[in-house]
């Protein structure tokens, strides 16, 4: 009951992809005006220009800045590799990368199962489903800042939830220890972002042809088996999309840290993005901050590339393939 035509993936010539391209072209020829095969490069111009001006050029400038000393006053002074060697020996930087990875991993582990189950459930046709789905969706409508401020107040040890439930929270000093602070960050992140991923899974689960479930039912599969052998495999590409979003989002998390912990206690939750902000806009060390920014860019790019490659996302396989 697994997906049938998988062998094409390993094939060096990728016949599957070629087939699809041909099919696509045929489809386009059928629906569009005769002779129009694919849009010209001109169509890409606005996006390319925008991306160049607001992403590539600043990125290049940041790269240049990372080899200078600059506190914002006067012109940047060349500093050679000073920022980079300092960064290499900076215990906070290494720790911040590890913390970023940890928070990202926690985010994925926490959000994927919840949003997957909620999404599949919300794709059904139960009573009250629409109302409950709308309620689950609410956190996504709030800004990350508002969410952080809200939870900050809710978790106040003297006047918030912990004061009402000491059996669960102890003395309520959640943000006073490393584990507690990381736990709160992961939880608040999950609370805010699970609805988005639920939505993605819901849409995708809705798109699974009912015939598959019906066929499975005829074969005698119960709900659990259907979920395991029909729904999950069909959601595979969605899972990749959702995870890539979580990872990229996790690596650039910022507001929750700024408002909930400010990197504390000590440097226990100083993740890379927040460390960059501290160096740049608190300490006015724009050279050092640029170096951190570049590290973050490189790490995020590598992680994204690796995920895309490993998951076969680059082959753009449609979720409904094999029907």
């Amino acid at each position: 009951m697994t997906r049938s035509p998988t062998p094409d993936r390993a094939g060096p010539t990728r016949p599957g992809r070629a087939d699809r391209t041909r099919a696509d072209r045929a489809a386009r020829t059928r629906s569009g005006p005769a002779g129009l095969t694919r849009p010209g490069l001109v169509w890409a111009l606005p996006a390319t220009a925008f991306f160049t001006v607001f992403a590539l050029v600043p990125l290049a400038l940041v790269a240049v800045l990372s080899f200078t000393t600059w506190n914002g006053i006067g012109a940047p002074r060349a500093a050679g590799l000073a920022n980079w060697t300092a960064l290499l020996h900076d215990p906070v930087m290494l720790k911040s990368l590890w913390l970023s990875a940890l928070l990202t991993a926690l985010g994925v582990l926490l959000q994927t199962p919840i949003s997957l189950l909620l999404g599949v459930w919300a794709a059904g046709h139960q009573r009250n489903r629409a109302i409950l789905s709308a309620i689950y969706f609410v956190p996504l409508l709030l800004s990350a800042t508002a969410v952080s401020v809200l939870w900050r107040a809710l978790l106040d040890p003297n006047f918030g939830l912990p004061a009402q439930a000491p059996w669960l929270f102890g003395d309520g000093n959640l943000l006073g220890s490393r584990d507690g602070a990381i736990g709160v960050l992961a939880f608040v992140g999950a609370w805010q972002w699970t609805p988005l991923h639920t939505l993605i899974y819901q849409g995708s689960a809705r798109a699974i042809p009912q015939v598959l479930h019906q066929a499975a039912a005829i074969d005698g599969a119960g709900r659990l088996r259907q979920f395991w052998h029909v729904t999950l495999p069909q959601l595979r590409t969605t899972m990749v999309t959702s995870t890539v979003l979580m990872v990229v989002g996790g690596l650039t998390t910022f507001d929750t840290v700024l408002i909930l912990t400010q990197g504390g206690p000590g440097t226990e939750t100083t993740i890379s993005a927040y460390y960059m902000y501290q160096q740049g806009f608190k300490s006015f060390d724009f050279g050092g901050a640029s170096a951190i920014a570049l590290v973050l860019v490189v790490v995020a790019t590598l992680v994204s590339l690796a995920m895309v490659r490993l998951s076969g996302y680059d082959a753009m396989r449609a979720g409904a393939e094999g029907i």
């Binding site: 506190n71 978790l155 003297n158 400010q262």
Partner: protein
């Protein structure tokens, strides 16, 4: 939503600490996916020296105009009024530009050395202007003072000295003073049969009594980090006198290693270990109303805080502020070298002058208004306490006369008024200071670790 509203209020009533990273008022923060993009765009904009959208400071001061740049908040009504008064008589027109709160220092940093730089700008003295002085961007005011001695003599010396760098004056006080005081809940103290402590030993005794009654002796917003710093500032002053920190911030790192330093840290450690702050202070903030609520609701007996605590309580818990909020000086330490009259906190805000100004005479005329009767009355009316020598004449017009009078006398009597450490050091030292302070309170750093962290700080 009490927390949020107090936080917002905080922004209005406490202009002197824009550097505070914690405030939710920094909202709206960048969404997490756009953060990196925003950062690089900003960096790019900075590198082109266009300033990150600081349009309000724009306009070259070429056409008989001086630009006055201030921190944008509720206090601007007075600045606006003073500028209007100036413009009534001056040929050179003054234009008031404001940069909203939290972004002030960052934007000032980008605009200070380009053609759009203001002629006169708001700052916190000390470390906030030291890098500018070092870069030769500021005009020493000593010539102006020679022509008009009142420009220095009409201000309280302990305040004026905050903006003196390397023996030269670079700033004139232009708002209100904010000393750090030991606030208390009168009712809690009375119920326990206690009075505000005047000595360290008395404070320790009272902590034992309060703990036995199940009350957190001292409210502390450790989540903000800087409220913890205030305890270091006072204990170092009481134990070693103001000289130790002056030496240290001047670049003599051995000062941190002195016996007084170890002793001050020992006293603080003793206080922490005695449970004076309870166990949850790391999760409590001042800026979101957490620690002031502890004091107001009688769950804590004391809070060490800047004079803005009064305004905070007035807005969040008016009845408490009126009847139950007590205030006093930080207790003295037996055998300590520091004078119990010494103060720490924010001495005042200052106007400094960019050396490239085309109209130094007009600027001098403008600065003279900072000790005028009109200025003092206007500041008192909005709750600020100016530090001019003529202030006592108008204290009856203050929003809370008794409190203003108490503070004024305290500041006037103080042999030393130490600017907060995180403001006395250059901005690059702020994060390391806050981290070291928090880690000491958490027990992650011992006295030696703290001393090493302080010695690693960059000095002006």
């Amino acid at each position: 939503m009490r927390h949020v509203s107090t936080a917002l209020h905080r922004r209005a009533s406490r202009p002197s600490r824009p550097s505070r990273p914690s405030r939710p008022s920094r909202a709206p923060g960048p969404s997490r996916t756009s953060l990196a993009a925003t950062a690089v765009v900003c960096a790019a904009a900075l590198s082109l020296v266009t300033g990150c959208g600081s349009g309000s400071a724009g306009g070259a001061s070429g056409s008989g105009v001086i630009h006055v740049l201030v921190y944008g908040d509720a206090g601007n009504t007075v600045e606006k009024r003073i500028v209007d008064t100036f413009n009534k008589t001056s040929k050179v027109r003054a234009v008031l530009d404001t940069i909203p709160g939290a972004d002030y220092q960052t934007k000032l940093q980008t605009v200070i050395n380009n053609p759009q730089a203001p002629d006169v700008f708001f700052n916190w003295g000390g470390g906030s202007i030291a890098p500018f002085v070092k870069a030769g961007l500021l005009m020493p005011l000593d010539d102006m003072i020679a022509k008009d001695p009142a420009l220095k003599a009409d201000f309280l010396p302990s305040v004026f000295n905050t903006a003196v760098v390397d023996g030269k004056s670079y700033g004139v006080p232009m708002r209100g003073t904010q000393p750090v005081l030991l606030f208390d809940n009168k009712k809690v103290l009375a119920d326990a049969g206690l009075t505000p402590p005047t000595t360290w030993d008395q404070l320790l005794d009272e902590i034992r009594t309060l703990k036995a009654k199940g009350i957190t002796p001292i409210a502390l917003g450790g989540g903000d980090q800087w409220p913890e710093l205030m305890w270091f500032e006072y204990l170092f002053d009481r134990e070693a006198g103001p000289g130790l920190f002056q030496k240290a911030v001047g670049g003599d790192k051995s000062a941190w290693n002195s016996p007084e330093s170890t002793k001050a840290l020992g006293l603080l450690k003793q206080l922490i270990d005695a449970g004076a702050f309870g166990t949850t202070y790391d999760s409590v903030k001042f800026t979101d109303g957490g620690s002031p609520a502890l004091l107001a609701k009688g769950k804590a007996a004391f809070e060490l805080m800047g004079s803005w605590e009064y305004a905070t309580q007035q807005s969040a818990n008016p009845d408490f502020a009126k009847d139950q909020l007590g205030y006093g000086a930080f207790p003295g330490v037996a055998d300590g070298q520091g004078d119990p009259n010494d103060l720490v906190g924010n001495t005042n805000n200052f106007y400094s002058v960019r050396s490239t100004t085309k109209y130094p005479d007009a600027v001098a005329q403008f600065l003279k208004l900072m000790y005028s009767d009109e200025f003092v009355k206007a500041q008192l009316a909005i709750g600020n306490l100016p530090t001019t020598t003529n202030t006592p004449d108008f204290l009856s017009g203050s929003a809370s006369p008794a409190y203003s009078q108490y503070q004024y006398d305290l500041v006037k009597r103080a042999p030393s008024f130490q600017l907060s450490w995180d403001q006395a050091y250059p901005p690059s030292a702020m994060t390391p200071i806050h981290q070291a302070v928090q880690r000491f309170f958490d027990g992650q750093l011992d006295a030696n670790g703290f001393i090493q962290a302080m010695q690693a700080l960059p000095t002006p």
